[in-house]
Symmetry: C2
Subunit: 438 residues, 2 copies
């Protein structure tokens, strides 16, 4: 069998992990031995790296790697939107299959890239873009293909899960844990993409497209991070039997849409109360987990390390092997693309209007500690036809009470109306927090 | 695209689940629409079934289905060793790819069947044979292919996990829960294959072959079920911070074997103490979970419904789609098999001699309640160079003490020698229980 030429764009932690696997094939799938690292583009040739590769394969010009005729598969692990996106497109147009870990590019330009790949008859595989080493893209594309998927819920950002796990366990404040996490290398010096939820939103955009068959507009996903979360809400949630996780959710409305109509999806990223008996509740630290629900499978969960050099490299190599396996089937190109691997969209989908999103909610109110205030709040919810799971008063001080309400599943439009009326009650000082609830 | 003809051997709960998916393609992967159920063999044409299929596709002769020229994929869901095994071989020789949920056949004849499939240039896929709906075969074959797998540990029998979960929660006896489970349909009227561990042994044989690249001899796997488990051990384990699960384990020795030598694997099925912080500890009821450890991925876990019509049918259809996807790539046969999907073995493996199996152990002894007995037991373990994690005395009655020992990781050969000396101590009445421990 002819060796399959691999070109790496970038040699950061993930790139080095990939090079490590390819250089040490012992006890891995025998197809790994058929891979050969032909070219690597880096920004700085002089930089010290933990891996020894022949000087001759290095270049500072990624285009040289993309156009190298001995390379069949381009691995983009440089990150960032540009020049990564343009290089992916150039590689596709040069007839190369592409493997990328770039969630930001795929969440925004996945459909454009998929169309380019289809036209060129090549694959673009993205297992490493979501959940680090956890196989989740491949199961959604292949192993769960017989199902009508109804819901995907995930803990898909390790940094925030680490912070939340410590807040929950130690009762400490967000800012203190963040500082610690930065010192330990679990959070970046600019943590915005993680703690404000944008990284998780990129990933749920990608998972939604695969689970429900159609791309959605990344910018439409309502996103709340953990940066405004207060320790007191973690504490109250615990007392009520819940943990708090930054969840990314994508759920189909109950009704089956007619095939021609665009399918509305309730998608959001938000700190969310998770009941202790939910499998996601036990996912702590930097781990990730994705729960997939569908018919007829019921629910399955995928759990593991959501980031890191080794796990992410494992996912990148999985994609390389998939392409290599298919290429080894025939010397004669072209044949048609395998429709499971190429994963073109088969349906129209869109993010449901925020008012139409249906979920359970946690609300914390600050009110005067007077008799009857719970009654008045309950009455307003009742008038708006909002069914309440629980309403509990926690005393905060002599004059103030903190009231926590957990609703049943309702439309956010209903909730907004009720909260607007509640804010107008003279005894209510402010609405201190709202979150989702499973 | 030409429709892909499917033939079903058997129309029990799994077969009906498969037929249901194929008959209702809406909102599933569009490739499901390309499948057409051409023939179904059943034992009894008159039997009432919950699914309506045209009479014309039924036959009582499975050979008719196997040889039908309009059928490209044969789905064997009749169960049992024969005639299932012979029909699988006949289908392969007739040039058909085969999908089967038959763990008993694959665990015993997997290598023979794989060789037949290779010679005929067809696929035999077995996702449904382990873990019901949980994607685990496919991830081991494809998504984790870049890893050096070191260990696979699984809760892979739903019946026993249901029984153990209830014993743990309610402190009740094995026999009582079994009776209940039988009435609820979670255990069969003859529960031997489940409760004696043989079903789990079939499945770990299959997983070992895929994870470590070589088939192992099913009959060599030491197997202990839950049928002799006493409630008191569940109780003591809980007090020491452990739950008890029926685990199937397959682990590579630390040393990398030279590629030509057969790789010894520590494989066993046994009720095992699982510490509360292990991800497997939270897997309750009829759920299954498989934890895979490797380099560089670290560890990933796959969790979900381990049995049932819908989940198992989901796995069968996943395999059908994989084959259909590849067949849709080209009208021209033959081309080479995809080496990831065909999954031929690439290494020699064998079950390590029982004496060489290395693990932590739980031992419960009945002894006279006299001072010094713990010291004497400790001395014997010390002489055999067995390091002890804990030794705890639980009082059972006025004259008798129950002593529980948890060892560190040791070879079973060492343990056997120590236990034989301990049995000879005059104060020791008997060794009441031994189990594995994670």
């Amino acid at each position: 069998m002819k060796k399959i030429g691999i070109g790496l764009l970038g040699l950061g932690t993930v790139g080095q992990g990939v090079a490590n696997i390819i250089s040490n094939p012992t006890d891995r799938h025998p197809l790994v031995e058929e891979l050969e690292l032909i070219g690597v583009s880096v920004r700085n040739l002089q930089k010290k790296r933990d891996i020894s590769l022949p000087d001759s394969i290095f270049t500072t010009d990624p285009i040289e790697v993309v156009n190298n005729p001995n390379i069949q598969i381009i691995v983009e692990v440089m990150g960032g939107i540009e020049p990564a996106k343009s290089l992916i497109i150039q590689a596709i147009r040069a007839g190369k299959s592409v493997v990328t870990a770039n969630k930001a590019v795929i969440a925004r330009y996945g459909e454009e890239i998929a169309n380019e790949a289809k036209a060129a008859g090549v694959y673009v595989l993205i297992e490493a873009a979501v959940g680090g080493g956890i196989p989740i893209i491949e199961p959604l594309k292949q192993s769960l293909g017989g199902n009508q998927i109804t819901k995907v819920s995930g803990i898909i950002n390790g940094t925030t899960n680490y912070i939340l796990s410590r807040m929950d366990k130690e009762g400490v404040n967000y800012a203190d844990v963040l500082k610690d996490a930065q010192q330990l290398g679990y959070a970046e010096s600019d943590p915005a993409a993680d703690v404000e939820g944008s990284d998780a939103a990129d990933k749920i955009a990608i998972l939604s497209g695969l689970a429900f068959g159609g791309p959605i507009t990344r910018a439409d996903i309502p996103t709340k991070g953990i940066n405004l979360l207060e320790a007191i809400d973690v504490n109250y949630a615990r007392k009520l039997g819940y943990g708090i996780k930054l969840l990314a959710i994508s759920e189909k409305e109950n009704s089956q849409s007619k095939s021609k109509e665009s399918q509305p999806l309730s998608i959001w990223v938000e700190p969310t109360l998770v009941p202790e008996n939910n499998p996601l509740a036990g996912v702590n630290g930097v781990n990730n987990a994705i729960l997939v629900e569908g018919n007829p499978i019921g629910r399955v969960m995928f759990f593991g390390p959501g980031a890191g050099s080794g796990p992410t490299a494992s996912a990148v190599v999985a994609d390389i092997l998939n392409i290599a396996g298919i290429q080894s089937m025939s010397e004669d190109k072209p044949f048609n693309l395998d429709p499971l691997l190429s994963a073109k969209s088969w349906k129209k989908c869109h993010v449901a209007h925020q008012k139409e999103i249906t979920k359970k909610n946690y609300i914390r109110l600050i009110a005067e500690d007077t008799p009857g205030v719970i009654g008045e709040i309950g009455t307003i919810f009742g008038k708006k036809k909002i069914s309440i799971e629980s309403i509990v008063q926690f005393d905060a001080s002599d004059s103030e009470a903190e009231i926590v309400v957990i609703t049943h599943k309702i439309k956010l439009g209903q909730l907004d109306q009720a909260l607007s009326d509640i804010k107008n009650l003279s005894q209510v000082k402010r609405i201190a927090a709202t979150m989702g609830c499973l």
